[in-house]
């Protein structure tokens, strides 16, 4: 499904987000080599120039590092990975809060609703804790 994109944002940006997601979930570990430009182009079914742009952006943000003649690698810089983690967390929170506000919940209601959800038996978080 990785070759499906929506039209809200440029494709290259959506690919950047997906790769960041993989890094945060440790599917790409610090120091891992990212797929070659061609392999990534084949995987996402996009032009190789789009992947070049993706990798340029990742390098520009410090999330990836170019090693001449070898390829593009995930950074091993803990500070950058921590920053990425925080940014992702902030983004998830913003999205969640925006949607909840749209539904009409006040901040206090959002907190109590979330707490209740986490504490209910059906919550997947409780299941994880019980494992």
């Amino acid at each position: 499904m990785d070759h499906i994109f929506d039209d809200t944002q440029p494709i290259y940006y959506q690919i950047v987000q997906r790769i960041c997601g993989r890094i945060l979930r440790n599917e790409f570990k610090p120091g891992d080599k990212l797929p070659s430009v061609i392999d990534a182009a084949i995987h996402f079914k996009v032009n190789h120039n789009t992947i070049q742009r993706v990798y340029q952006e990742l390098i520009h943000q410090g999330i990836a590092v170019a090693k001449r003649g070898e390829g593009t690698f995930v950074t091993e810089d803990d500070k950058i990975l921590a920053r990425l983690h925080n940014e992702m967390r902030q983004s998830l929170l913003e999205n969640f809060l925006t949607e909840m506000r749209r539904l009409g919940y006040s901040p206090a209601e959002i907190v109590s609703t979330l707490r209740d959800y986490i504490q209910t038996e059906d919550s997947p978080l409780i299941e994880e804790q019980n494992e």
Binding site: F5, D7, P10, I11, Y12, S36, V37, I38, D39, A41, I42, K45, V46, N47, H48, N49, T50, I51, Q52, R53, Y55, Q56, I59, V65, A66, K67, R68, G69, E70, G71, T72
Partner: protein, 235 residues
């Protein structure tokens, strides 16, 4: 994104080809700028291969002009210079090895050295020391050898008709890598393909051959890329 300064490698004006009463190519105007990969898609029999053969001088059009590197094909020169081509199934001497076949071709054209032949065979995934006659090659191996002969002399232009025909996934992938590397080095490529994904991955512009004319496939506005040079990226 044509600019006045862009060097044009292939230029055709009004190319028309008829077979009997059937108009196969109907007044084609086409340009390939330097350093780009352009692709032509279209069903079998649409005229893609005829167009490619006209570009390399194997077939003469009924009307129109072709220029490659500013030389008119069929007038100033018979075949384009500095051009490697792979059109139709590659023709080789079936009793000779892959290496010997390239050596003979190199001898005729007098450009590629022993080292170059060996390197090129390795580059396309064939064993330079393999003595098996080409007649025993699989389709995929013949295709690899065909690609080898096209790139052997470091051409500035590649004209490739269905270059990944008969290749498995790894073989296709290697060809894509080669073509993108060649593009980085400023070489120009025109390919035809049935495979839409392949054209999407490789091409700066894609055309469809329809009713004897080339139609440009509009770029997806979301794609929004500009070609960049990335030092670390490999293919």
């Amino acid at each position: 994104m044509a600019s006045n300064n862009k060097q044009i490698v292939i230029s055709t004006k009004g190319i028309t080809k008829r077979f009997g009463k059937r108009i196969v190519l109907d007044g084609i105007d086409f340009e390939l700028p330097k350093g780009q990969i352009f692709g032509i898609s279209g069903p079998n029999g649409s005229g893609k291969s005829v167009f490619m053969r006209i570009l390399v001088g194997l077939v003469l059009p009924n009307e129109g002009e072709v220029s490659v590197f500013d030389q008119q094909i069929g007038h100033e020169v018979e075949f384009p210079k500095a051009t490697g081509a792979l059109i139709d199934r590659p023709g080789f001497l079936p009793t000779c090895s892959g290496y010997r076949n390239l050596e003979l071709l190199a001898g005729i054209r007098g450009v590629a050295s022993t080292t170059k032949i060996t390197e090129t065979l390795a580059l396309v995934g064939l064993d330079p020391d393999d003595k098996k006659p080409v007649g025993t090659y699989s389709t995929g191996m013949r295709q690899r050898l065909g690609f080898a002969q096209a790139i052997m002399e470091d051409p500035d232009l590649l004209i490739l008709d269905e270059p990944t025909n008969g290749l498995d996934f790894d073989g296709q992938r290697e060809i894509y890598g080669q073509l993108v590397e060649l593009r980085k080095a400023g070489k120009s490529t025109l390919i035809t393909s049935h495979n839409r994904d392949e054209l999407l991955i490789l091409c700066d512009k894609i055309f469809i051959m329809h009713n004897g004319r080339l139609q440009l496939v509009p770029e997806d506005p979301q794609t929004e890329w500009t070609p960049v040079q990335s030092e670390g990226s490999d293919c």
